[in-house]
């Protein structure tokens, strides 16, 4: 018998664990501001994210999540963009504290 918690754990974890585990865009709660650290710029989609403004050094803010927490709505360069959680997991970020 497979235990129920084991299955739900497996769903929560990304298929490939980056090592060491970085903070990714998918980890940020709604309302959180981050600085983009790096993304998979060797893939076509990674380059596309850069082309629309999600490039290292830029700020991004997580604006919302669709039902089932996927996709994720992000604000970058004054635009609202939605990407899937699986893609957000490849974007490494560092949190920015609000100057409040």
């Amino acid at each position: 018998m497979v235990s129920g918690t084991g299955i739900s754990e497996a769903f929560k974890q990304p298929a490939v664990q980056p090592f060491p585990r970085h903070l990714t865009l998918a980890d940020i709660p709604v309302g959180g501001k981050v600085l983009i650290e790096s993304l998979p710029d060797r893939t076509a989609f990674g380059r596309r994210l850069m082309e629309i403004g999600l490039l290292p050094g830029n700020e991004a803010k997580v604006m919302g999540r669709a039902p089932l927490r996927d996709p994720i709505q992000v604000c970058v360069l004054g635009a609202l963009i939605a990407i899937r959680r699986s893609d957000a997991l490849t974007v490494h970020v560092s949190p920015l504290s609000d100057a409040r």
Binding site: R48, M50, E51, G64, L77, L80, I81
Partner: protein, 639 residues
């Protein structure tokens, strides 16, 4: 399609998605806009004419929206191929690069690439009115200086700044064409470098940074809320669905009645004869069977353009994405599939909002499996004749549950086939989902009106010709060769039409294919019904009326036809419509692509016969196999 003889200069309108490029195109070209496809691909192509202030006419081509020349999608690839002269089409003489003043940094990315193509570029700085109302000031002359390109601040919605834009376009002869220096496969460093340039250019042209408007943030908090969002979306969908289903009814009845009256008038005017019969039964009935879909198409496109224009469509795709991903599609496929429940034709046309060509094709190929309103008359006839109204659990009865099963069966088969297609030959590669959500704005009447007009016109023109041809062909098959007039006269009037069909080529084909239909339990009369309803499934009811000699005016509620059905016997005296055969017939109509209009639209949307033929073949095979299994299963179960 591009004509070789065109000597008018070609101007390409290029820009990223959500720059207001199409609104600008609509304002410049007005009703001269022609929509079609780029050859061999499911990418929409719009071209129009434009007269410049100095009197010269130019052609304006609306390129598909592109974030970058480094193409990810077929749309972007086409934009790049045309701009670089890699496609069969003529290379543009001038590029009008559309950028939204509210999204300056992101939109300038493509412009920095366009600059390297060697073709003169004019920048249309669109939405300056919106930027102003958000308190964003952009100094166009500084932008022009920093960018090294002529810039016309304008608003495609109000027409502000269009004189200057047209003047800049007219000046195009002043700039020479330079060599194309853009290098494909840009390294990440090059992308970052472009953004460094853009930061400098934008920093010197404006003091402010763009923010998402407050109203959009508030609306998104409600409309994309994890719980309220889907509820509101289903409310919107229910409204759309209901309107296509019911509001179009009176208009459709009016069209049907009008064409019936017209063919009756032709018959009385010309008298009985082959010519009047061809006109009334083939041409007029054929045109009528096409035009009857127009109210549904216009209504759906009214809703789609309102949803698209307001910015809500991107939110709907965002909300539905997780659900649709289960079958390998994205959130953008939801609305086209949902609206196919009214009619697959507007549903298929609505797939134009899906940018990913493979997702779009998969959606087109499964949309006709969703139970459409034209299946209802067939279902109603068969269910009323053979399914008892035995109550189940108080509120339901067998008839209602059968109908429900048929609807669910359609949805299940559509999702299953989408899953199979997306796992096999339509596997998406390298185009993960990216939904840009524009700020909410009130829809513009000009865009909505133009959408309705062009889509309505293109449906009637292109799809109409195919459907009409098939209807005339079927009429010929049913009307020739003529039965012996003397033999006909000896029959009672009600049976004359039946005798004619029996004698005709269609009757011959019906008998010829009987062995093929026997595993499903259909006799040759049902075979004729199936054949004649190839063009439109609801024709089945009328044909059955003719074949069983109840007269042409039978409809699904006609008692006599239902009685004839129940009493139909084979030559050996056994009943034709046993319960397993009835189930097989229902299953067949649930899955078969008995609709010439759908095939015509698929040909038009995919730019060739390949996909409509595939669609027809796979749906027919599926229908046949499923009907066979259902009959075999029901017989084994002893029903």
């Amino acid at each position: 399609m591009p004509a070789e003889t065109d000597i008018e200069p070609l101007i390409a309108l290029a820009g990223s998605p959500n720059t207001g490029k199409t609104t600008l195109f609509n304002r410049l070209t007005g009703l001269s806009r022609k929509v079609g496809n780029f050859p061999g691909v499911t990418v929409a192509r719009s071209e129009g004419g434009l007269r410049l202030p100095d009197g010269t006419s130019v052609r304006l081509l609306d390129l598909p929206g592109a974030y970058s020349l480094q193409a990810l999608s077929p749309e972007e690839r086409i934009a790049r191929q045309i701009l670089r002269g890699e496609s069969g089409e003529t290379r543009p003489d001038l590029i009008v690069a559309v950028v939204a003043a509210t999204q300056l940094s992101r939109n300038l990315f493509l412009v920095t690439q366009l600059k390297e193509l060697g073709i003169p570029v004019v920048v249309a700085l669109n939405m300056v009115d919106e930027a102003r109302s958000e308190g964003l000031q952009i100094r166009a002359e500084r932008l022009q200086e920093e960018l090294g390109l002529p810039v016309a601040p304008c608003s495609a919605r109000t027409g502000e700044g269009f004189d200057e834009l047209l003047r800049l376009i007219g000046d195009r002869g002043r700039w020479p064409r330079l060599p194309d220096t853009w290098q494909d496969s840009e390294a990440p460093d090059r992308i970052a470098e472009r953004y460094r340039d853009i930061r400098r250019i934008v920093g010197r042209s404006t003091a402010q940074r763009h923010q998402v408007p407050h109203s959009t943030l508030i609306l998104d908090r409600i409309l994309t809320h994890a719980v309220a969002g889907p509820l509101i979306f289903f409310g919107v969908m229910a409204l759309v669905f209901q309107s296509i289903f019911t509001w179009s009814g009176p208009a459709m009845d009016l069209i049907t009645a009008g064409f019936d009256r017209l063919s009756a008038a032709v018959l009385t005017l010309l008298g009985e004869g082959s010519l009047s019969d061809l006109l009334a039964g083939g041409v007029i009935a054929g045109v009528g069977s096409v035009l009857v879909f127009l109210p549904q198409i216009l209504l759906l496109f009214l809703f789609i353009s309102l949803l698209e224009e307001s910015g809500y469509m991107a939110r709907a795709a965002y909300l539905m994405d997780r659900l649709m991903r289960g079958v390998g599609l994205s959130g953008k496929s939801f609305l086209p599939l949902m609206s196919s429940a009214a009619c697959a034709i507007p549903g298929i046309m609505a797939t134009r909002t899906i940018e990913d060509a493979r997702d779009r094709l998969a959606t087109i190929l499964v949309a006709p499996l969703i139970t459409c309103s034209a299946r209802l008359p067939v279902y109603a006839l068969i269910i009323h004749a053979f399914i008892p109204a035995t109550p189940v659990w108080g509120v339901f009865d067998y008839r209602g549950l059968t109908l429900l099963t048929l609807y669910l069966g359609g949805i299940t088969s559509a999702f299953t086939m989408a899953f199979i297609f997306k796992r096999t030959f339509l596997k998406s590669k390298g185009t993960p989902l990216l939904i840009e959500m524009p700020s909410y704005r009130t829809p513009h009447w000009r865009n909505v009106g133009l959408e309705l007009w062009t889509h309505g016109r293109s449906f009637v023109e292109r799809a109409g010709s195919v459907i009409l041809a098939i209807c005339i062909l079927l009429w010929f098959l049913g009307a020739y060769p003529k039965a012996d007039p003397l033999a006909l006269r000896s029959l009672p009037p009600g049976e004359r039409a039946a005798a004619q069909i029996e004698q005709s080529l269609l009757g011959g084909i019906g008998r010829a294919i009987e062995p093929a239909l026997r595993p499903l339990g259909f006799d040759w009369k049902v075979g004729i019904g199936v054949l004649s309803s190839l063009a439109a499934r609801e024709v089945f009811v009328g044909t059955m009326g003719v074949v069983y000699g109840v007269g042409k005016e039978s409809d699904e509620n006609s008692e006599t036809l239902q009685e004839k059905f129940q009493n139909a016997r084979r030559p050996d005296g056994s009943k034709v419509f046993t319960f397993p055969v009835v189930l097989a017939l229902l299953t067949f109509y649930m899955l078969a692509c008995q609709c010439a209009a759908t095939l015509g639209v698929v040909r038009r949307e995919t730019g060739g016969w390949r996909w409509p033929i595939f669609l027809f073949a796979y749906m027919s095979a599926l229908a046949y196999a499923a009907a066979f299994l259902v009959r075999a299963g029901a017989t084994l179960a002893g029903w």
